[in-house]
Amino acid sequence: MMDNKMIVEGSLENYEDGCAVKGVKFLGRLPYYRGLGLSMVEDIQVAIDGQQVPREDVRFQVRGKTYTLDEMETVYDDRWNFGEKATIIALKDGGFGEGTHTVEFGVRMRVSYLPFVPTTKDTKELALAA
């Protein structure tokens, strides 16, 4: 559900540290009818132009707090709220280049009452905001 609303249109920007480009970031929403505690967001998969971003180079940012995917596994006091636009960061020194990119965004959720662990994906062409 909400597959095609995971990636927020027009939200792709360079991720800068000072004035050095350290990757890209975009706004992403959890494809689920309720929010979920961060410890149950098992994986966030990002690929830029078909290139899978390694797990350790993905960051998840909400309300000023930034987490690695491994850190999230034991976060029991924060959550990804329903419809909340989190900032998803894909680190790569020098960034991914100018212009339009194909962004693939997948989220795997451990939902207690489901007899399977679903991964939901969205893919969009996003122009890098100048």
Binding site: M1, R29, S39, M40, F82, E84, S112
Partner: protein, 338 residues
């Protein structure tokens, strides 16, 4: 005879709009009230950011109560989740599950709810242990009986036995009408066709559903027809849905306190083509049910790949149907333009 059965809406029905910020809490409550559906049910973790891990400020609770009052509504149920898989690789211990349920009882009480809805996969002993606390707070915990489970499934029978043994009136059931799926929903078939399922296979599955063929046979036959991927997925929906009989609610009626008016689509003729609401309402009347039927629109996930769902129009249509079946004289209508 005073009209015992009342109409309500689970705000779950507006998830497509609230997810995108097209509707806020006031829009949801106002829309429901205009339709005469004054019973308001929520998924706590959908409507209130922060619940449960971060917590919810009093301000948000006060806003809720002001809106309830402003539109003369009644809080009905806080549908809670109890994530017993919160810790990766290990099950949440029993006592911690009970404590978690108690926090949801408190939250339901803060919101003025009569009920909190537990998901069916919860261990009945957890609810039995939380029941005394629920009684203190004048709240009932209702387990949602949801497809593929049904009132004659051993898991539900086990819950029922545990409740009787506990002697507590704070434990009950909340049947989801999706349990009585008497035809393969057209919106499901259309989505599977868009996913590439062959027309002849989709037609076969729809007909097999109508004929009540056992899911395992349908899955084999679809494989033999050369079906793969989404075609198998379409056949496998029959493992999780079946046309059980509404009259099986009668044996459990004393413990049924709320109803999820699940629906996948309402056509222009105010009919849900796959769920027999006429039969359902007559069984509820026969059983002396005097609670709410809360609209629970779940069709968005089946159409959103092809069109922008119109949840408000779908809820309106169901409320018109319910009002008619409940013998109400007035036809529900939206005051302002939809």
């Amino acid at each position: 005879m005073t009209m015992a059965i009342k109409r309500g809406v689970s705000l779950y029905s507006y998830q497509n709009e609230t997810f995108q910020g097209k509707m806020d809490l006031e829009d949801c409550i106002r829309t429901s009230a205009e339709l005469g559906a004054n019973g308001i049910e929520i998924i706590g973790e959908q409507t209130f950011w922060g619940w449960p891990e971060v917590g919810v400020e009093d301000e948000a609770i006060e806003n809720w109560h002001s809106l309830i009052q402003k539109y003369d509504c009644t809080p009905v149920s806080h549908d809670f989740m109890l994530d017993y898989k919160r810790y990766k690789g290990r099950m949440m211990p029993h006592d911690e599950q009970v404590a978690s349920v108690k926090r949801d009882i408190d939250f339901g009480a803060r919101l003025g709810m009569k009920f909190i809805r537990a998901l069916v996969s919860i261990d009945p002993q957890v609810l039995v242990d939380a029941a005394p606390y629920a009684e203190e707070k004048d709240i009932k915990i209702l387990v949602e009986v949801h497809a593929p489970l049904h009132f004659d499934h051993p898991w539900i029978v086990r819950h029922a036995e545990a409740y009787e043994k506990s002697g507590s009136d704070a434990l009950g059931f909340l049947p989801d009408m999706g349990m009585f799926l008497h035809a393969f929903p057209p919106v499901w078939k259309e989505k599977f066709l868009r996913m590439g399922v062959r027309q002849d296979i989709a037609d076969y599955i729809e007909k097999a559903y109508e004929d009540r063929v056992l899911s395992e046979y349908v899955i084999l036959n679809v494989r033999e027809m050369g079906g793969e991927g989404p075609a198998i997925g379409m056949a496998e929906t029959m493992r999780h849905n079946a046309a059980f009989e509404p009259k099986r609610m009668l044996d459990y009626m004393p413990r049924i306190h709320n109803i999820h008016g699940k629906f996948y689509q309402m056509n222009e003729d105010y009919v849900e083509p796959s769920i027999p609401y006429d039969e359902i309402v007559s069984v509820l009347k026969q059983g002396g049910y005097d609670g709410y039927i809360c609209s629970e629109y779940e069709g968005n996930r089946w159409v959103e790949d092809a069109m922008e769902p119109d949840s408000v129009e779908q809820v309106r249509r169901q409320q018109v149907m319910l009002a008619r079946l409940l013998g109400e004289t007035e036809t529900p209508a939206l005051k302002t333009a939809a």
